[in-house]
Amino acid sequence: MNSVEELCTLIGSRITWGRGEDASSLNADTPLLEMGLVDSLAIMEIVAALGKEAGIALPDTEIVAANFRTPKALWNAIENLSGEGRK
């Protein structure tokens, strides 16, 4: 996982899109929670996919609304995580 765009692709693949909507409408600033795009099941799937596809283990303490407001917020949380890992 190298960019917020890649993260958008991962998130987009875990959303059940309605007709006339699709993953390409998702960008770094899409308000995921406000728009009701992700529910608790989608969040669990996103967390699982981060682990499986990108080797990113998001700890329970990071699975909070503040980190899922937008793809960018989640990207920042992931970057902080790896930053701490490097220290």
Partner: protein, 524 residues
Amino acid sequence: MTAQAPVRLDALLARSAQAHPDRTALEGAGESWTYAQLDRAVDALAVRLAATGVAPGDRVGVYAPKTPATVIALYAALRAGAVTAPLDIADPPERTARMIRNAGLSLLVTADRALAGAHHAATRARDGAPADEGALDHGLHWLRVLAPEDRPGPLPAPTDSGGYILFTSGSTGWPKGVLLSHDNVAHYALWAAGEFGLTPDDRIGSQAALTFDLTTFDLFSAAAAGACTVLMPDMLRAFPRDVVGWLTEQRITAFMAVPSLYHNMLQQGGIADAPPPALRIVAFGGEAFAPELLERYLRLLDGVPFYNLYGPTETNACTYYRVPADWTADQELPIGRGIGGVHIDVLDKDGRPTDGEGEIHIAGPVVFQGYLRGGAPHDPTVTVTCRDGVARRAYASGDIGRITPDGRVFLRGRRDNQVKRRGHRIDLMDVENAVLELPQITTAAVVAKDGPHFGQIWAYAQTEATEREVLAALRDVLPKRMLPDRIVPLATLPTTTSGKVDRRALSGTAGHTAALALPEEITV
């Protein structure tokens, strides 16, 4: 509390406004309302609604996000004499339109943020004709769905002077409006306030959507006791860690939720590391609590009473069991005995009381008035003779159970196609109808899976469409919680010797599922 004059829900608020005018009644979205302020706002809005044409017995939907303004709207509609239906803005407009039509709602009250969705649903309910609208206080709006002359016929007493409607998944693909009287809800709200010993010092955490029957406690038991209802921001609902933090920050003292949320708060939410210190009453209902987790909670929140509540939407919570402090996971957890004034009996298939397994029947002041279908009420209750020899009007719950000689009830399963997801009732036929109504589907069967996919809902469909296309189409008509976990396109559906779809084979209970094995790449 029983056999007295019926209690109105908005009177619970008025009474507390008299007794504790300066106590905080409601907090949420950064606002705080005292009982006196809330009651005055409700009065003023009720007058506005009446001026807009709302008459006693009219059915009014409140389609708005969960904020103090929405609570004001619910109470104001009740005070104006309306039969009031909370609606969920997260539901697809098509589904909301069906609720509007089935319940015969003539007016919607909505909020700035939900106005577009409300118009969408109202227009669908009106066969494409846009609805008139007007502004109200608190960022609220009204939308007229039915002209006065098109309103459905009046409801019978007592709902001719108002009531409450909650929707439940039905077998026809149309959500059924569960018509409750003021007293049906108030009886339960007053019982819960008394049993839990609620006082004006209590802060009740309200986390679920107002369309969910558990929330009648949050609003009306609080009003009955002069306690404060604290609305949790909707965005936190999916995050157990945030819920735990919110319970602590908001100094919540009483909390009612589905076991799924308690499970998640323990397994991912970190509640064991930092139990909310003010919490003194924990109640749950809607599904079974995982026994090991419940046992851990009892140790963790030592001395805090845990209540198991049971009851279909049609009767509110109607049984309760206070879990003993020394309860352990190897013991079966009963749903308990009837709340005050409620009779519970278990009857065999001939309608006679049985000591073995049978269908749970519920009688008493909490039993609803009937379902609203096509705008008209249909009362499905039956008269049964209970084991004390008394004949009573009862609701046959469809739940299978057993009753002990001392009146404790144990739940044993369902009689029909109903399943539970996070405490929400889902009729598999409701989902199946939605699938069958899609133009790209020839035929389909929706089943609850057994075996390795236990608990999942799968749709098997004869279709040219892909799984993703079918799911996208279903998103337009079903709430997210009702979407199948998987859509399996099949050339033909398996049938039994009598020619019916073999649902047992599809659900994986019959042991010959090999023929229906799936390529592993199909995932949702």
